[in-house]
């Protein structure tokens, strides 16, 4: 903090991707025995900057110095040679090998007499030494797969130590850790600091920066927005930097009048991160679900719909005027669910568009006897959706879905669910990977659906989309409700504050 010896210096780093300026002249320094926090929201440029430092991307401009010597890197291997190590969110390791073998994976100990034999004893002894340095009691001989995620991370750190790394980068290391594991990790990082390593700590959780780091820098939209010593700032100073300018978004004409309750979720626990999530959606309402990556948004939807096991809580639907509990597996039959990744579980790529559109509602086209499908009806219905949603395909309903553009594929998936005429629609990143025109059309479609009475739960990582479409926004933070925002409060700053965890409103 009092001007530590500079270990790493990045200066004026620029990087463009086709059509995007990802980094615009970013400079920063990391010193020996210091921890620099690198903060910013999704898409601020953190990953790009670190991928440049890790040798994965080559910068278009700027220079990198290690020990005041300019270095040029062409690969991840080059970065390792310069003593730069990455600790990933999800550690990469060999599950069936021991801890010691994982630590020395790139430079095995061999028997001095018989160099083609691996010297396990020496490896275990050395592994013990590095683990002790980190103050960890992990047994070098235990199998990697028997360790918890948090402990695997510590092994990965020991590997970095053993490789002689001087600069250690942590990429969102706590996002899947329990509270106790997090404390252990912080102690380990502290011992690394005392070993004189330069540490870069990427996160979007402010508390962690304030607790752990000596200095911080904030990236916003590819630019360095500010930074300094952690002891000189308050939390809200940092929040202001992270949020950036308030993007002017035309707020939707939010409707106060609520329809009847379409779905009520009570005290849902699932996927180890979701705790006590309760909310209601009303007919004709667009409920936004906002949160940072790892906050549990997709997990919540999957648990409600019974696609992942639910550990507690219940889901209620109106049955003749009364709310009644419904088993999650059954709920999916009443709903539409546009999934986050259409290639994984949305589209039937090799099938024609018409078979995609009728996949969720085959029951409508099936004869009572012998279960024959009425293909003529299927084609007719598909043609209607192609018209209504203005899906452009080469050969009408006969084009294979994989031949369509991303935006049109997404519309096919909407058509697939609308064909079921669901009262409730779950939309997870409905405009991801589609062009601007299609984005606007889909936004319009979502509004129309709500106006016609559908209850819509909308997940989006784009704040503009959240602000312009939602009637209310439920903010999740680390698997818990951080707040329910309504009306004029739905704006960039409020959503970000709640998501990062500066303040906690009553849900």
């Amino acid at each position: 903090m009092n001007d530590p010896v500079s270990k790493l210096r990045m200066s004026g780093i620029r990087k463009t991707f086709p059509g995007v300026l990802a980094l615009d002249g970013v400079s920063f320094e990391a010193g020996v025995g210091g921890i620099v926090g690198l903060v910013g929201v999704n898409g601020a440029g953190k990953s790009t900057l670190m991928n440049i430092l890790g040798g994965v991307y080559q910068p278009d401009g700027g220079e990198i110095f290690v020990d005041d010597e300019r270095i040029v890197m062409h690969s991840a291997k080059d970065a390792a040679r310069h003593g730069i190590a990455f600790i990933h969110q999800e550690p990469q390791f060999f599950a069936s090998q021991t801890v010691a073998e994982n630590i020395f994976i790139s430079h095995l100990f061999t028997n001095p007499m018989l160099p083609f034999l691996v010297d396990k004893k020496a490896a275990n002894r050395e592994a013990r030494r590095f683990l002790d340095m980190l103050g960890s009691d992990i047994e070098p001989r235990s199998k990697m797969e028997s360790l918890s995620l948090g402990r695997r991370q510590i092994v990965e750190i020991a590997r970095a130590l053993a490789a002689g790394s001087e600069i250690v980068i942590f990429d969102e290391p706590t996002s899947s850790l329990s509270f106790k594991e997090k404390e252990t990790l912080f102690k380990v990082i502290d011992s690394l600091k005392r070993e004189g390593k330069a540490i870069i700590y990427i996160t979007h959780f402010l508390d962690e920066v304030l607790e752990l780091c000596d200095r911080f820098i904030v990236l916003w939209n590819g630019q360095l927005r500010g930074g300094g010593a952690v002891k000189d700032v308050t939390k809200s100073d940092v929040v202001k930097l992270i949020i950036g300018r308030d993007i002017a978004v035309e707020g939707a004409a939010r409707r106060e009048a609520k329809g009847t309750t379409a779905l009520r979720v009570e005290n849902v626990r699932a996927s180890q991160i979701l705790r006590d999530v309760s909310f209601s959606i009303h007919q004709g309402e667009i409920l936004g679900l906002w949160g940072l990556m790892g906050s549990g948004r997709t997990e919540l939807v999957r648990a409600i719909l019974g696609l992942d096991p639910i550990e507690g809580g219940r889901v209620l639907l109106p049955v003749s005027g009364e709310l009644a509990s419904i088993p999650p597996r059954k709920l999916l039959n009443h709903c539409g669910y546009v999934t986050e990744n259409r290639h994984a579980d949305g589209l039937f790529p090799a099938q024609p568009v018409w078979r995609n559109i009728t996949a969720t509602a085959l029951v409508k086209y099936v004869s009572r006897v012998l279960r024959f499908l009425n293909v003529a009806e299927e084609l007719k219905a598909s043609a209607e959706y192609i018209d209504a949603l203005r899906i452009s395909t080469g050969h009408g309903p006969y084009s294979r879905a994989e031949t369509l553009s991303g935006g049109n594929q997404q519309k096919v998936i909407f058509a697939k669910w609308l064909n079921r005429q669901p009262k409730i629609l779950f939309l997870d990143e409905p405009t991801r990977g589609v062009d601007v025109g299609a984005k606007l059309e889909i936004a319009g479609l979502i509004r129309t659906l709500a106006r016609e009475g559908a209850a819509i739960l909308l997940i989006s990582s784009e704040v503009e989309e959240m602000v312009s479409l939602s009637d209310r926004v439920l903010v999740l933070r680390e698997g818990q409700i951080a707040g329910m925002v309504e009306g004029a409060d739905i704006n960039n700053a409020t959503l970000m504050r709640l998501a990062i965890g500066e303040e906690r409103l009553n849900a």
């Binding site: 696609l307 039959n333 669910y337 999934t339 579980d345 090799a350 078979r355 996949a359 085959l362």
Partner: protein, 286 residues
Amino acid sequence: MTVPHFMRLGNILNILEQLSILGFMSIGMTFVMVSGGIDLSTYTIVSAGSVVGAAAMVSGYSPVVGCALMAAVGLIFGSINGVAIAFGQMIPFIVTLSTMVVAQGFAIWFTHAQSISGLPDSYIDVVSGKVFGVVSIPALLIIVVALVSGIILGKTEYGRWLYLTGTNEAAARISGIPVRLTKFLAYVFSGLMAGFTAIVLTAMVGTATTAMVRDERLMDVIATTVIGGASLSGGSGSVLGTMSGLLFITVLGNSFNLLGVSPFVAIVIKGAVLVAVIGLDVLRSR
């Protein structure tokens, strides 16, 4: 180059009979491949069904009981495959490879490696006989089975479930399709087709042995289905396509036979054709 005797009536009937042996198994394989899996076990299930049914008939049960037993053995092995793959979520290749060995072992254990002859004439005469003295029963049977299964795959809800499951299982599940039931039934059907093969083949051969179908027939079945348009990655194929593939493979084998090509060389050539077709399948799906 012309093949002598190719168009003779005797040879055509010969081809039809061969068609029926491969045909049932290939149709079963088509259902399984459309669902995104593979079934390597059918050809040894044929032996298992054959010896059980034959043993029953030889010890005095009626041909109807014998045939029912052959079909039942097919259904049982098919269900084992189906449960393991659809509900146990095990890999089709490994499951059916194991079933293949189990069915073979079962047949050998059941018969002490002896063949069973002395089948009732009523069974042999009816099943391998001819309708109106022209069309053989096996040929007629394969035509009927092809028609019915073609309609199931092409026209019914279950057929659509198979295509959607084979194209994208995760999307099918979320779309509300009973993915597990769909896959289970595909293997059960494939097992039943092995049972049908046993019924026809045992009558045609006149004895039940532990090796009713030669090993290389498995390759023929896969080649037939893939040439007919099925993809090893699932989601495509049709019964009509498989029947054309069947014609191609059978005529190819028959031509080698008439040309006097060594059967071993023929196997090599057919193997090469299979690899080429699978290669095309990979290129096509890129």
